[in-house]
């Protein structure tokens, strides 16, 4: 069974440009989470989808970040326009059904975003 897949693994862009990160969760997983780790800091929650609906987006830093989950399958996270402080590793995680315990998270390998 394929795990959580993230594209691209690395992205280097200039300040002011737009970047779109993609996450393919494990097939059949209703819950999809985005997390971010900036240099030297802890992994922080960004938002949570249940199927195609945003369940909790309280961790999104500002309106330059837009997340979507088309048809409850894959998800994209767009940063527009990117700023220097957006650099970090963006992780996606998924877990099975709505209402299941939160410890069963499966993480992708992350996208390393560098904004120059």
């Amino acid at each position: 069974e394929a795990g959580v897949t993230q594209f691209p693994s690395h992205s280097v862009i200039e300040k002011g440009q737009t970047v779109t990160l993609r996450c393919d969760p494990i097939s059949g997983h209703d819950n999809l989470y985005w997390y971010r780790r900036v240099m030297g800091k802890e992994i922080k929650f960004l938002l949570h989808f249940v199927k195609e609906s945003k369940q909790d987006e309280s961790g999104m830093p500002n309106n330059r970040f837009l997340a979507e989950r088309t048809g409850g399958t894959y998800s994209t996270l767009k940063v527009q326009p990117a700023e220097l402080e957006d650099s970090g590793v963006y992780f996606c995680a998924s877990s099975p059904h709505e209402g299941t315990t939160n410890e069963k998270l499966f993480f992708g390998s992350g996208t390393q975003l560098s904004v120059l």
Partner: protein, 114 residues
Amino acid sequence: QKEVEQDPGPLSVPEGAIVSLNCTYSNSAFQYFMWYRQYSRKGPELLMYTYSSGNKEDGRFTAQVDKSSKYISLFIRDSQPSDSATYLCAMSAVRSSSASKIIFGSGTRLSIRP
């Protein structure tokens, strides 16, 4: 003050040693405690999960939670070079995934010397 404090290391020990990794926290509402292992260029992988206080053992790994002291530990016995990774503690106040936000520690980098 951070909700979860974790010494970043790095921690280097010889193969076969017992490793002790620790986290402290400030939020008394945390009830669910996790340890994740993260290899280089990979995502975190759940290693251990415990609820409330007490011990949990899984092979060479033992997780301990002391809620009275707000202190959690992960012990690795007979450490192996393959245990070299970053270990992240994580905790949550609620169990349901529909309302959960896991709070992570910053991770401790562990190196096991052959």
